[in-house]
């Protein structure tokens, strides 16, 4: 009975202790709070990778502490949370969970970025390796291209070789024919060589002969030179004498020459005057030509030049231009009746008319032609010969 009592008492005590919460132990948190606690712990451990989120972890832990505090503070004596405190505890738990999620998201982002960096580094490394192969491929391509080109060149060279072989065969044929020709030429060459040696001997003999002749020629040349020098000296003396004689001779010759030229000119002048057609009467200092007046002037008025008169005027003008050392004294003579047509005034008028005609035909000093009418004062023929006295006298006088 006593044992039964003790067992009952122990059972009662056990029940009492089980129902009353023990202060030293953690209370039985709701599932959402436990979930939040777990997440915050996870965030705290993850934060070791990223220092930048430490503040966020502290905030999350603070929220959890608030949730736990609210929960503990609002526990009833039965160990259950007061319903009024439920929203606050739930709020802090949710906030803690959100804050922890924020931390985890940031850490995850950092991890992704790190992984991305590593991956990019790997990509770069692989690219470098691939590039090596790509470069090699490019080189290979270039080499293949080169090989193709070389093959083409080789083919071209082969074709060229074949052409050359053909040409060679042709040339060999030509060569054989040329060889025959060459043999003949060789024989000819031998003949020519022997001929050449013979000619060479002759040449040597000729050269010897030339040398002898050259010596003789040199001696002759020296003798001639000495002779020439001697002659030159003599010649120089003679030349001096000749020049002295020539100087003496030249003086007299020039004088004679001038005289001869003067005489020749006079002779020529006389012949020219004779060609005028009148009657020439040479004087000691002058030369006179006489023309019938009716030949030079138109009768009966005698106031115009006849055709012959004009011709004579032209000839006289040419004569005066060719011989500037002469001048003319023109005199017109009259005779018979009517007296007024034959007097000095009438003949003077005729003389001036002829003078004007001469002056009009050439360019020279007017003073070189003098005109004078002498009327009937100087007859040269009997009285019956009227036309013989009617005349024109041209006297050429040296100036």
């Amino acid at each position: 009975m006593r044992k039964m009592t003790i067992l009952f008492a122990a059972l009662v005590c056990a029940l009492v202790f089980q129902s009353v919460p023990v202060l030293a132990e953690e209370p039985a948190y709701p599932s959402y709070l436990l979930k939040a606690q777990s997440l915050v712990q996870k965030a705290a451990s993850a934060a070791t990778e990223l220092k930048a989120v430490n503040d966020d972890v502290l905030i999350a832990q603070n929220f959890i502490r608030n949730a736990e505090g609210e929960f503990k503070k609002n526990l009833s004596w039965t160990g259950k949370l007061e319903p009024a405190a439920e929203p606050t505890v739930h709020y802090f738990s949710t906030m803690a969970e959100l804050q922890a999620s924020l931390v985890l998201a940031r850490v995850a982002k950092a991890r992704q970025e790190k992984e991305l960096k590593n991956t990019e580094a790997k990509i770069a490394a692989v690219k470098v390796k691939i590039k090596v192969f790509d470069d090699k491929n490019d080189e290979l391509l270039a080499m293949k291209k080169g090989v193709t080109e070389l093959n083409a060149e080789l083919l071209a060279l082969k074709a060229e070789k074949e052409q050359l072989a053909t040409k060679l065969a042709t040339l060999e044929g030509s060569l054989s024919s040329v060889s025959g020709t060459l043999t003949q030429s060789q024989q000819k060459c031998d003949l020519l060589s022997s001929e050449s040696s013979r000619c060479t001997n002759s040449l040597v003999a000729a050269e010897k002969k030339i040398a002898e002749l050259s010596n003789e020629l040199e001696q002759t040349r020296l003798a001639a030179k000495a002779e020439r020098e001697k002659s030159a000296a003599e010649l120089l003396g003679l030349k001096k004498e000749i020049s002295a004689l020539a100087a003496a001779k030249g003086l007299s010759e020039s004088q004679s020459k001038e005289q001869i030229e003067t005489l020749n000119r006079q002779k020529e002048f006389v012949s020219k005057v004779a060609q005028l057609g009148g009657v020439v009467k040479p004087g000691s200092e002058n030369l006179t030509v006489v023309f019938p007046r009716a030949l030079l002037l138109k009768t009966p008025k005698n106031d115009k030049m006849s055709v012959e008169g004009e011709k004579l005027a032209v000839s006289l003008a040419a004569l005066l231009q060719a011989y500037p050392e002469y001048r003319i004294k023109l005199k017109v003579h009259g005779f018979g009746t009517p007296v007024k047509n034959e007097d000095a005034a009438a003949t003077d008028r005729m003389a001036r008319m002829i003078r004007e005609a001469v002056l009009g035909k050439g360019k020279f000093e007017p003073a070189r032609v003098e005109a004078l009418g002498s009327g009937a004062a100087e007859p040269v023929a009997p009285r019956k010969n009227v036309e013989g006295n009617r005349r024109v006298e041209l006297t050429f006088v040296k100036q």
Partner: protein, 133 residues
Amino acid sequence: MGNKIAILVVVLMSCVVALPAFSSGDGVNPSTMEKYQQAKQQIEALTGSSIARLAPEMVKEAGQSMTAAQSGLMSGNDKETVQAVEMALLQVKLAGALAEERAAAEKSAAAVKELSAFEQRLSQILTNQGDKP
């Protein structure tokens, strides 16, 4: 007498029950209102953004928190409003972080894919099966 006591007890109990409601319905602080507006603007700004594309579930949760905050605002419960607004702000922050994490994950996956392709090509080259000029 018994009825009076019963009425008195009922009235007393009603007062006790209604007291917290009255005390919480004193109205919302201007600073809470300001926070609410900020959170609302932030959530509205997320529409069509990369964050909304990459972390839509968190943006949705933030919207729900804002609905709760609006409810608190309507009932004049400052505490409920503050808690809902703070939760919404934290959810927006978390949405941004999740979006960044997922964008980084996408980039990383693309890089891994690229690396895999290059490694495959290199492997083919090394086993004499690659590009042959």
